[in-house]
């Protein structure tokens, strides 16, 4: 499936990446090459095959419902780029 620069721009927005106009053609071209590679998948019949998410088809283990963590805010927020009064800060969001 061929992709257009417009497609790439839409996917980039979905992924919250910005692509400069000057890079767009090259990004699209290289993206297209990868897509061509994976389009190979269309040549194999998988109609009867269960998708595989985990190589061993294991089952989920469960954890006991117990509070094991105590307040560690100072250490965990030490690498926060913007914080005040214990809050992470982002530009004003309007709902």
């Amino acid at each position: 499936m061929p992709v257009s620069p417009e497609d790439i721009k839409n996917v980039a927005l979905l992924a919250r990446l910005s692509i400069s106009t000057s890079d767009l053609a090259e990004v699209t071209e290289r993206f297209g090459r990868v897509l061509q590679l994976v389009d190979e998948l269309n040549t194999i019949d998988t109609s009867e095959v269960m998708p595989m998410s985990n190589p061993h088809d294991m089952e989920q283990r469960l954890r006991q419902d117990a509070v094991t963590e105590t307040n560690n805010r100072e250490a965990l927020m030490a690498s926060a780029p913007a914080q005040e009064q214990g809050y992470f800060l982002v530009p004003k969001v309007i709902d």
């Binding site: 990446l17 530009p91 969001v93």
Partner: protein
């Protein structure tokens, strides 16, 4: 003064020297730190050095050794790939996004090794977020191959492989999502083991593709890998995908008798596309195993061809979600003066991630987006099962599957940078093993024009022992793993 021969001595011998008090951990640690100081400037394999902390850990180890309380790895210096979170020590994942990130926790692998009394010398350079096969995608610059400074060391655990080959540590950790331990091990002439998926906890390892990532040891010998895996492996309550399987003492159980073992050679690996020189070296290695009593049989892995397409849908798709947390809010790079929320996201992420990482996020996002999920992601997961079934069928007849670790020797910088697909082909013999979740090991198989090449051994699920045994036997019968680069590095 420490003999420089020490720098190429395997862990299995170093631990004896330590336990017999022929050398102290402090001396050993200092020797490796000196070597790092001497050669890292040229190689760029190590991006964080924990000098004081390492010497302190060495002193603690020496005290334990003196009291006779040593464990198998007590006092052994190691380097961690910079994808393992280390409490209080910068952990970058090779990215600008995390160039200031200091975790408040250790990865399970790190804490297990710590509990063993190892000495952490520092953190190794790597392809950004483990996405690459040449170490050229690191924000901290390329790593040079110690065998030829004009060539790549492979990737993504290229810093780890180069550091070990250059004698900066006797043991290093790596991770392998599509070949990231085995391919650089091959290109740097060392032994690297990717365990079965679920064998080693992923907790605290910065995620690339969760259903494929697996950590493992890289060392001079298979014996050292067995020592390290015994410590690294085991179920972890903090990782739901870690397997609740008994962990043998891989080292104690090493068995050099490979008589009667059947080694499958996939026709799809040994076809006309395989480079003749690589074939020659791999076949020579397999010939040694045959001499030792193993039987070589041709097998089919009929869907091998699809592995690369399958991988390059699943890995980017999982990565696109795993890397969504890097948004400039709680940690990591944040752009200067964001004007609104969307600006914060767009600029922080585009500035923080390099080109290859962004490409994979785009591909993964695309493969999951409305209208493409069935054609790409779901389809790839179906083909993944078919590929895994190929292996399981083959293992009904053979004990081990063998092939090359990489399509060639180390290549010059820039050779494959313009074409992502050419770079992806570097992992053509390794990534199906990740898709099937199997253990795989690369062991040196000699040199081609002075550059190392690896032989890959693939085992049944959770049967790391057999491939370790086989590699160990090969290393007893040959000296390819003892070849070291002739490092004549000027103090530049």
């Amino acid at each position: 003064m420490v003999d420089t021969k020490l720098l190429t001595t395997p862990v299995s011998q170093l631990r004896q020297l330590l336990q017999e008090r022929d050398i102290s951990s402090v001396e050993l640690t200092q020797a490796y730190l000196n070597q790092i100081d001497a050669v890292n400037g040229a190689l760029n394999a190590v991006i964080t050095i924990c000098r004081e902390q390492a010497l302190e850990e060495a002193r603690v180890a020496d005290a334990q050794l003196a009291k006779g309380q040593a464990k198998p790895l007590t006092g052994i210096p190691i380097l961690h790939k910079d994808i393992f979170c280390t409490h209080g020590v910068r952990t970058t994942c090779g990215s600008r996004m995390l160039d200031q990130f200091i975790p408040a926790y250790d990865a399970t692998v790190v804490s297990k090794l710590k509990a063993e009394g190892v000495v952490v010398l520092g953190k190794c350079n790597m392809d950004e977020f483990a996405m690459g096969s040449s170490n050229e995608t690191s924000y901290f610059g390329s790593v040079k191959n110690p065998w030829n400074l004009d060539c790549v060391p492979g990737g993504s655990s290229g810093g780890s492989a180069a550091a070990l080959a250059a004698g900066m540590a006797p043991l290093v950790t790596g991770t392998d999502t599509g070949g990231s331990i085995r391919q650089p091990a091959s290109l740097c002439g060392i032994t690297g083991l990717k365990p079965t998926y679920g064998r080693v906890s992923r907790l605290g390892i910065i995620a690339f593709a969760s259903s494929l990532d697996q950590a493992g040891p890289m060392a001079r010998t298979a014996e050292d890998c067995a020592l390290a895996l015994t410590v690294m492996a085991g179920v972890d309550a903090g990782d739901s995908t870690s397997a609740d399987m008994p962990v043998p003492d891989f080292h104690a159980a090493l068995n050099t008798d490979i008589e009667g073992l059947r080694i499958g050679l996939p026709r799809e690996y040994f076809n006309d596309d395989l480079d003749d020189a690589v074939r020659n070296r791999v076949m020579t290695g397999l010939g040694e195993l045959e001499k030792a009593g193993a039987t070589l049989v041709d097998i089919d892995l009929p869907h091998s061809h699809y592995a690369i397409a399958t991988y390059y849908v699943i890995a980017p798709a999982e990565a696109s979600a795993n890397l969504a947390r890097y948004d400039g809010v709680r940690f990591g790079h944040r752009c200067d003066k964001p004007k609104d929320l969307v600006d914060l996201y767009l600029r922080s992420r585009s500035e923080g991630f390099g080109e290859e990482v962004q490409r994979r996020i785009l591909v993964g996002t695309y493969a999951l987006s409305a209208g493409f999920y069935d054609a790409y992601f779901n389809k790839a997961q179906q083909v993944r099962r078919i590929i895994a079934q190929d292996f399981h069928r083959a293992f009904e007849d053979v004990d081990v599957i063998a092939g090359p670790s990489a399509p060639g020797v180390a290549f010059p910088f820039g050779a494959k940078q313009q074409d992502p697909v050419a770079m992806y082909m570097e992992d053509i013999y390794t990534l199906a093993v990740n898709l099937a979740g199997l253990p795989g090991l690369s062991t040196p198989a000699g040199l081609i024009d002075g550059m190392p090449v690896g032989l890959q051994l693939i085992g049944k699920p959770f049967d790391e022992q057999t491939i370790l045994n086989m590699a160990h036997r090969l290393q007893l019968d040959t000296d390819w793993h003892m070849a070291h680069p002739n490092l004549e590095i000027s103090a530049s």
